[in-house]
Symmetry: C2
Subunit: 133 residues, 2 copies
DNA sequence: GACCTTGTGAGACACTTGTCTTAGGATGGG
DNA sequence: CCCATCCTAAGACAAGTGTCTCACAAGGTC
């Protein structure tokens, strides 16, 4: 197994642009980021994309003049890693605990609450037969 | 408001010892940590406690020979900060999304599931009256 | 062909994190 | 008093992060 690279915040911001747009050159990413309130230089974004590529988290393909970068890891996967890390570090690996704390500190609105109930029901209903979603 | 210090993993491990024991000297923390599988030198733990103190996250009091450290931030608070950071970075600040993802990737056992249902019910029931703690 | 424009590559540089070494102060046994 | 301990102070040092500068290549323009 290859080692899990860490994803620092600034790299994550760049990655998010790729998830949203599907792919981007350095300049496109830069513009998206700066439009969203960031204030980076071209070189900064280039460095971040380069580091992401070294970590295997994005891929590049030279199209015409510039490199075009595409994500090589999904947002789901990154979320999962972060959540697992959090569970591990602060919740003794117990997802129930996290959920409870989450609900206590961030109450859900009724719509979300019922979606959560549905999921819970499905979960306990399909105790031993279904496996898929 | 002072700036939120970051809490790196190694410092967090030391902090956890203080939460569990209430207070500890460098040596006590070292022994607890190493008994738990860590393999640090005395100086490492001393450095970590020192950094934590500079960040205002622990306090020290010289008792007899050695400093005795106590936590100045609660586990709850650290958890909250981490969760908030996660929500912010990867869930557009939407706790419902995180809960849903969590349930999807880490199914709860029935006991936990019903505890969660209770909390949900309380939440939607006491829309505007109770303020429990 | 000299000159922009847009790109890349290399690397600088300060700060943080992870971990340790070394020097020196206080304490207690002989 | 001198030594062995245990403690703190100071800081070393490599790797990772956050951000940028600078030199230089490829492609158009006149």
């Amino acid at each position: 197994m290859a080692k899990r690279p860490t994803i620092p915040d600034s790299e994550l911001d760049v990655l998010k642009v790729l998830w949203r747009r599907g792919r981007a050159t350095v300049r496109e990413a830069l513009e998206t980021l700066n439009a969203a309130g960031r204030d980076w230089s071209y070189a900064t974004v280039a460095t971040l994309l380069d580091r992401l590529e070294n970590k295997g988290l994005v891929e590049s393909d030279r199209k015409e003049l510039a490199f075009v970068y595409t994500p090589a890891i999904s947002e789901q996967e990154v979320r999962k890693r972060r959540v697992d890390g959090l569970l591990d570090k602060l919740y003794e690996g117990d997802p129930g605990l996290l959920v409870l704390h989450l609900l206590k500190s961030h109450p859900l609105d009724p719509g979300q609450a019922s979606r959560v109930r549905e999921v819970l029901d499905e979960m306990t209903a399909s105790k031993s037969s279904k496996k898929k979603g």
